[in-house]
């Protein structure tokens, strides 16, 4: 036993900052800085209308980041989320066009099997990732990078690089631009997913298994956890969440495109790491990741309003990711050392 010091009051503020940093990571600081800087740069930034815009635009990244979070917490990551989106888009669009040609009077049937076909294709990507990582112990980096190239190539091959058009109008009207009770459908979908993911991660056995496997896979195995199955589930769910994003984006652009989701792997990893998900696995919270994704979109929105060129935006986003990882290292060291 070590004794606690009596002079808690001195250095209390420093201690508080330290504890907050260990618990929440760097996100609160980043958010405050971003809001201050962008509202100085543009008067339109801090308006209700703009924030609602940001919320709507952030749906796609939120969903992908939630999936990415699963892969990260399990101790890996998924670079193929962009490919899962592209494959979903192409496969679901091709299926919808085909089905609406065969059953012209049953448009909703065509839409449904189109979406399911997209899910199925992405699930396949997730399962291949999971098998590689868990059964063959391929490093997640190489596995998902390889799958990303395979999937991206197939998506381009299926379409010949040309967007798939001629989707049923209802598909775009409902999933792209529709509103239910005045709320955009994509936002509703995201809210449902956030709630389900929160329950999954904090209230189910599978969720705790993913944390345990990422925290120490050998210890998890000795605690009777089926580590391979757990990794499979993490990658499969990650791909499915990306796939859902793919469906929503396809509805938004009203065509199947093989180039959707180009930069989303980087953005989703950045969102997670900024939100305190550890690159070493085992640590991360749903609500923070949602906020992290929101933050990334907020920064992109702010830069657009401040008329930063899209090329410079790439520079800034990459820098933010690296900065977040540096803070993650510092945080991990503080966590491990504090006695």
């Amino acid at each position: 036993m070590t004794r606690t010091t009596t002079n808690q009051a001195s250095g209390g503020l420093q201690d508080f900052a330290r504890r907050t940093f260990i618990r929440l990571g760097v996100l609160p600081v980043f958010l405050i800085v971003a809001v201050v800087v962008f509202s100085l740069l543009s008067s339109k930034f801090l308006t209700g209308q703009n924030l609602i815009n940001v919320a709507r635009q952030s749906v796609y990244l939120v969903l992908v980041a939630l999936g990415q979070m699963l892969a990260l917490i399990s101790g890996g990551f998924d670079l193929s989320v962009g490919t899962a989106i592209a494959v979903t888009s192409v496969v679901s669009a091709l299926t919808m066009v085909w089905a609406s040609g065969v059953f012209p009077e049953m448009l909703w049937f065509a839409i449904t099997i189109g979406i399911l076909a997209g899910f199925g294709a992405a699930l396949l990507i997730g399962i291949v990732n999971g098998i590689g990582v868990s059964y063959f112990q391929v490093s997640p980096f190489i596995m998902t990078l390889g799958v990303s190239s395979v999937g991206g190539g197939l998506a381009l091959f299926m379409t010949g690089g040309v967007p798939v058009s001629g989707l049923p109008f209802d598909f775009g009207n409902v999933f792209g631009f529709g509103r239910l009770f005045g709320v955009p459908v994509p936002v509703l979908v995201a809210i449902v997913c956030i709630v389900l993911m929160w329950i999954f991660m904090s209230r189910t056995r599978l969720g705790t298994q993913i944390y345990a496997v990422g925290g120490n896979i050998r210890a998890a195995e000795l605690s009777a956890i089926n580590t391979r199955r757990t990794l499979m589930i993490a990658y499969a769910l990650c791909a499915l969440l990306a796939s859902l994003t793919g469906v929503l984006l396809t509805a938004r652009v009203e065509s199947g495109e093989a180039n959707l989701g180009g930069s989303i792997a980087l953005e989703s990893i950045a969102a997670c790491v900024i939100a305190g998900v550890s690159l070493r696995g085992g640590i991360g919270r749903v609500e923070n990741v949602v906020l992290g994704a929101f933050f990334i979109v907020l920064v992109q929105n702010g830069m657009n309003l401040a008329q930063v060129s899209s090329y410079m935006q790439m520079v800034l986003l990459g820098s933010l990711l690296i900065l977040a990882v540096i803070f993650d290292q510092v945080r991990y060291r503080m966590m491990m050392q504090a006695r």
């Binding site: 004794r3 250095g11 056995r205 705790t208 298994q209 000795l222 491990m336 006695r339």
Partner: protein
């Protein structure tokens, strides 16, 4: 003036909310072996980390040969002549022994590294240490004991005035310990001061000149080893009277629950034995004799190359670990950091993982899980203040208690405890032994696999002795004696050579 080679005065180290070291004075004479003794968390590691340059004191001074020093890092301390062998090795597993020893100071021939000279010099160092090692071998392929010797060999460089050894014998066999002690005696005669951290009184009594005892970050006292006996030291360390460390364990109606027939795995020859409920089965052997591999093969942690395992009449050979656990087997890993605990989470969360698995329900009710982890923490006597702390932030003894707690989270009847008290202080050991007693007396089968001979000798009702991958003897309680066990180790060695 410089009677002491190293002298620390008023050393204090504060971490937020915690006084890890409190105004400690420490002095090392040239050519003495000075033991640091204390429970886990007493401040020994904090003290040496500052002497070694790995950490800076909040206040207090350190003098080396009379001059005040302040080291920027471990490298600076090494240049000044203070070399530390930490428990966590600083070897690079993918490099060879020679490359590790000369890392950063490779002998040159023109602009190129002179590999031949490097190997020759390495061979010379190990000849001096009387420890046969191939200088070209990759470090990853060596046993832990051999890695330890490589680590010590690294200190054989330049001007060495202080050598700090943090539990150097934890993974060494008796013969290797003898070599190490000869080496220490050699350094002593050259005037090197040695700081030696150890829990094993019998062992350090052979070489120590003085002992400094720490408790709760404070200095309790420094005494000449000649004046110190076991009881005094343990009392100073724990702050309480020595009670019997090993409890008496009743054997209650032993009945066979597991029969192992010809079980083998690489490094272990076919083994036959029975596991019985209501008794403690000990497995004794030197480090590297295959006793751990044997139980790991039994548990399904490492693949089995042959033989059958029957549990209550059913063949369970070759089942994966999780199925063995589901059948009531529990395996306590000897390496709590690498495969026992998730260091970045709290004790509570670590236990919760097993509680949730044990219940097998899809949804988690945290209030009831928390109630159960609290009950388990009470049972393993884990201080309430530590339960919500990250495991990395509590001492080794408390980490071991958490690991023990995992045993109780899933319903089990066969407890395989592999080195259950490794690196744990006397107070915690006594608590863990009481838990072993309760398990056995409640009718469970308990297997204690240990390199700590007194531990298995005192706890076991039945004892298997292993050497060179074989079970060489099986003893009943009244036959168990240190002599007989040690003789078995030797007999086998002579036959083998």
């Amino acid at each position: 003036m410089t009677e002491h080679v190293l002298e620390a005065t008023g050393l204090t180290k504060l971490y937020p909310g915690v006084r890890a070291l409190d105004d400690v004075d420490f002095a090392l004479r040239p050519g003495e072996v000075h033991v640091l003794f204390g429970e886990n968390g007493a401040g020994k590691s904090t003290l040496i980390s500052m002497l070694a340059g790995a950490n800076r004191p909040t206040s207090g001074t350190i003098r080396l040969n009379g001059r005040e020093v302040s080291f920027a890092d471990v490298g600076a301390a090494q240049e000044a002549g203070i070399f530390t062998v930490f428990q966590e090795f600083s070897l690079i597993p993918t490099l060879s022994v020679a490359e590790n020893i000369f890392l950063g100071r490779e002998p040159r021939r023109g602009p190129f590294v002179d590999h031949r000279a490097m190997k020759r010099m390495t061979r010379e160092i190990f000849q001096q240490l009387d420890f046969p090692i191939d200088p070209g071998a990759m470090v990853a392929t060596l046993s832990r004991a051999a890695q330890q010797m490589v680590e010590i060999a690294k200190a054989h460089h330049g001007e060495l005035s202080v050598l700090i050894l943090d539990e150097p014998t934890a993974s060494l066999t008796d013969r290797e310990v003898d070599h190490l002690f000869e080496q220490i005696a050699e350094l002593k005669s050259k005037g090197v001061g040695v700081i030696y951290i150890s829990h094993r009184i019998q062992e350090f009594a052979r070489i120590a000149d003085r002992v400094t005892v720490l408790r709760d970050g404070a200095l309790i006292g420094t005494l000449e080893m000649a004046d110190a006996d076991d009881d005094t030291l343990v009392e100073m360390m724990t702050g309480r009277e020595v009670t019997e460390i090993y409890p008496r364990i009743q054997r209650t109606d032993p009945k066979t629950v597991v029969s192992v027939d010809g079980l083998s795995t690489p490094g272990v020859e076919p083994a036959n034995f029975e596991i019985m409920k209501g008794e403690v089965l000990g497995i004794a052997g030197l480090v590297g004799c295959g006793k751990s591999r044997l139980v790991r093969a039994l548990m399904g942690v490492v693949p089995r190359s042959g033989g059958t395992i029957r549990h209550r009449g059913e063949d369970v050979s070759g089942l994966p670990v999780r199925d063995m656990i589901a059948r009531g087997f529990y395996y306590l890993s000897p390496d709590r950091k690498a495969e026992g605990l998730d260091l970045a989470r709290t004790s509570h969360d670590n236990l919760a993982t097993n509680v949730i698995e044990g219940r097998g329900r899809s949804f988690v009710r945290w209030s009831s899980v928390r109630a159960e982890t609290d009950a388990i923490s009470d049972r393993v006597e884990l201080d309430p203040g530590y339960r919500k702390r990250l495991v990395s932030q509590v001492s080794g003894g408390n980490q071991q208690k958490v690991l023990f707690g995992k045993c109780f989270a899933q319903p089990s009847e066969i407890f395989i405890l592999d080195e259950p008290t490794v690196g744990v202080d006397v107070g915690t050991r006594a608590a863990l032994y009481r838990m072993i007693r309760d398990l056995a007396e409640n009718g469970n089968a308990v297997i204690v696999v240990s390199s700590d001979l007194p531990e298995v000798l005192n706890l076991s009702h039945r004892l298997l002795v292993m050497a060179q991958g074989r079970i060489v003897d099986e003893l009943e309680k009244d036959e168990i004696s240190e002599d007989r066990v040690l003789r078995k180790f030797f007999e086998d060695r002579e036959q083998a050579s």
